[in-house]
Symmetry: C2
Amino acid sequence: MQVLVYGSGQLARMMYLAGAPLSIEVKAVDVSTKAVVHPISKAVLNNDLEQSIAAADVLTVEFEHVPEDLLAQASASGKLAPNMPAILIGADRVREKALLDKLEIANCTYEVITDVKQLEGITSRLGERIIFKASRDGYDGYGQWRAKSASDIPELVRQFVELDLQTVPIVAERMSDFSRELSLIGARNGSGEVVVYPLSENTHYEGQLHLSVAPAPDYTDELANQALTIFTKIANELDYIGVLAVELFQEGDTLLVNELAPRVHNSGHWSMHGAHTCQFENHLRAVCNLPLGSTHPRTVSAMVNIIGCDELGDAPLQMSDTHVHWYGKAVRAKRKMGHINVNADSYAELGQKLLGLNSQFPVEYFPELGPQAELLLSK
Amino acid sequence: MQVLVYGSGQLARMMYLAGAPLSIEVKAVDVSTKAVVHPISKAVLNNDLEQSIAAADVLTVEFEHVPEDLLAQASASGKLAPNMPAILIGADRVREKALLDKLEIANCTYEVITDVKQLEGITSRLGERIIFKASRDGYDGYGQWRAKSASDIPELVRQFVELDLQTVPIVAERMSDFSRELSLIGARNGSGEVVVYPLSENTHYEGQLHLSVAPAPDYTDELANQALTIFTKIANELDYIGVLAVELFQEGDTLLVNELAPRVHNSGHWSMHGAHTCQFENHLRAVCNLPLGSTHPRTVSAMVNIIGCDELGDAPLQMSDTHVHWYGKAVRAKRKMGHINVNADSYAELGQKLLGLNSQFPVEYFPELGPQAELLLSK
């Protein structure tokens, strides 16, 4: 089986590693050069994309911001999974919001801003605290603006006047008073089979995911059922094939959908060592229409992102059931360089292990590690 | 870190997969062509072996039968681990026996046959049941002969007369009345740190390993200590760096060493999903002088070899915590094509899962699966 992945970053890399044992050969498309590259070495394997498309059994994506002409070419082959409309929904908050409304899935109240005039009186409609998100091409906190009170609006008007809101509208959302951020990763294959992983609890810092804990602590069946219902509604509606990530806010006992990602997701990396089948393998199984693998958690797990830092010393190698994964990238500020998966038999033990790492790690790169570890001690 | 592995089979392949997350790039030497190849795709990366030796940080082996001129060249670089004498001991039963005797490690009584005349009266010295093993280049039952009684000896004399016993002596061993075959996989790094995995119990069929169960059932501390002592004596004596496999016979409460393999070993593949750190990662950690990883078993595990068969259907994909690994080889009779790791919470559950696979698999390729599964049910 040959799978061609659009995008040649760490997600394609981890698909390659998960595919090899299953005799699934994964190659990656560098979408800037259109060259087909080896997902690990990045060596160019073929400069003729059409030829590689013809040779592949399945085409898929590692990110939703693939240029639309490339997506259209991929889709025309009849081999693209998930399908192009599903990918575009993940790439466009306006389409995403329309889907959620159509399916009557709870999400934060919003307005689509195509003209700065719409900012007039917006706080009376959405509340004082509003988050503005570019509808396309935003990620990791880029393309986002916040209003903490009505007095912030005039400055935003000045900024938005410079933007082409007709081409890239902004979605203005009531800022959620969530108690925590969760995500649900699941997969659906061509036979309509659906599996979901346990919810993970995610900690962000300056717009980037820093830590995921799975299964999320204090995780009721009721919460799990809500999440499963949301996932199944969306995946069935889109005739979705592959892994789909649903980012959620928990407000009281209710889950609101924040964002969809039509792909494997950073908050699912814990599954590489913490679940019976990892998200990368399940994505490949889904797009190759193989039976989906068990998503059962082995233990409790934390995934710690390594961001902007390329040297951690031996601490994670010396800790039991702790797995470092470097992505082989040159270091840059705010760049995701790798992650560490830590498994433990209880949340308290997990907290202890994270505290152990925290005591060895440079705090500037891991500002949330200590505080989150402390919280786990009492779970 | 760059590691060059002599040998380009499945063991180098699995080292590559284990190395990538640690930023250890593994390349393989096809010892027949001397080309450096990608361990997964087998694409030639470099035809200049000397250049690749110079570029590598560490050289290692995936099998002990590397041509001696290549080993000498590798050793001369000062980067080879394990060291050449240790590799040669694994490749030569005469040296291996001498080492065991020197270290006073129990093994089967033997004689080194360099002249057929030595077969005269041999059954009066070693007993009626004798196994004769070529001292070099034998594997998977090749280069072995058995005598079940003194009356078999004349036929063996006729066969051995044709061989150059001066160049490749035969080791004649009393055939052990072992209750079972076990193996101990462990690692030692350059700092002298030693870790060992739990003993695995191995089932062979026609000279090939078919099944390993780890930890071995009915596994006493006393047995574990014996095994650890044996491992540590050998590894320290050889100043061994890397993973070393010790094949053992259990006779009553005593362990006898059958063979040494100076490398990762088929009976350790269960560790890929059944232990905190797999043998391939620990081999790389050892040769790169990193701290060794925890060898703690997650659950109980079985490794089922896929031999001579390239199609198994969906059964292993549909079973929880069951992992298929294909080696990407063209099918041939008796060829190891891949393996399946099965994890379970108890031996009885493991037996049930293996019975489940057995009911779906072609019995001609898995003759030991059903009987061994039945035995596990009562453990």
